[in-house]
Symmetry: C2
Subunit: 221 residues, 2 copies
């Protein structure tokens, strides 16, 4: 594993796990010493994370991207477009056995499963569902959108009923997909995405004060 991939992966994990707070400043020298790499791989990693939207430029320096409510709402619209398009492609495919893999993902969650795992499976559901479309661009769009969302979605983990509700909705989407009912599947998926967004934005707006107290930058819509 190259140093660049190492730094990129570890830094991404730290950011997504909120170990580095949204809005926090980053210096190349700090990353360098933190991960024991030189500046060349550090800079490469930063450039890639910039295109993922996880870090941004603040004048000359680097900043961990703040959680941006307006952005979250826009991402929901974007997701709706690409995920529904992907799902319709999948519904049009003859072989529906491919959804078994995703069904198995959902099956792997029960009451004993830790919430973090529910969270991860919830994201992977959407990513893997998009992959089934066979369209690389739709797939990457969904994957990247979920990456951007994932820091905010951590906050949703505390709400157990939300996780359960999402799980049920995922099941319903899969069922319609398996039957090839494209319109119904699309309707369910749209509603799911819009509902998730509403819960997320509400939850975030309520927590904004607390998040700011922890030093996290949260930009209003």
């Amino acid at each position: 594993m190259s140093q660049m991939q190492n730094v990129e992966r570890q830094l991404r994990e730290m950011i997504l796990a909120l170990e580095i707070g949204p809005g926090e400043r980053l210096t190349e020298r700090w990353i360098e010493s933190r991960f024991g790499a030189s500046r060349t791989p550090v800079r490469a990693a930063l450039l890639r994370l910039e295109t993922e939207g996880l870090v941004g430029r603040d004048g000359r320096g680097w900043t961990v991207s703040p959680i941006n409510l307006a952005e979250l709402e826009q991402i929901a619209v974007y997701r709706e477009a690409v995920e529904v398009a992907a799902l319709r492609l999948t519904c049009g495919q003859a072989d529906k056995s491919v959804v078994d893999v995703i069904e198995a993902m959902l099956d792997s969650c029960d009451e004993n499963t830790p919430r973090e795992e529910w969270h991860r499976v919830g994201m992977d559901f959407h990513i893997e569902l998009a992959r089934l479309s066979g369209n690389e661009f739709l797939f990457r769009a969904v994957r990247d959108a979920m990456t951007r969302l994932s820091r905010a979605r951590w906050l949703e983990v505390r709400d157990e009923t939300a996780l359960g509700r999402a799980w049920l909705e995922h099941r319903a989407i899969l069922a319609a997909t398996r039957l090839g009912q494209a319109d119904e599947a699309a309707r369910l998926l749209s509603a799911h995405i819009v509902g998730s967004r509403d819960r997320l934005v509400t939850s975030l707006a309520n927590d904004r004060r607390g998040l700011r107290a922890r030093g996290f930058a949260v930009v209003a819509a």
Copy 2:
């Protein structure tokens, strides 16, 4: 202007103008001497162009991405999803005067306008139309998709009737948008994208032999 931006911009232009052929190998040292920059900015530029899909890794080295027919077809599907979503958002907006700017773009083309300019305006039409949606993600998706398409679209420039037909379709889309007729506008846009793809793929499939003879890598669908 920083060296990194310089190298990135110039290298992108060379690739898009087919001055460096699709499939051609790139060495960091060559770029370094070609643009009079050191490897640091060269490396940064390559990393960015990689995320744009214009260059890719070939084992350890760098390669100008080949023109990939399967990819072009997938991009068309992707475009349809994001452009239609963006257009529907725009149709829902109260203020329709924003389309004037785009109308003016189309107006700027007449029989005396060089074909390259028609080509550029044709791409910008889609990009600027997406920008009107106000959704940053849909906008970037369209812009990036058009960038990926633009090398292939150069080949279409030779067909004057295709340019004129696209221009008429653009007009019709704008007209429906101005009236807020979302469904009609969406239908026209979808048909336009699908039609463009068909013409492009047909044209490319026919030219494949000639392109290969010029040393361009063209990957089949």
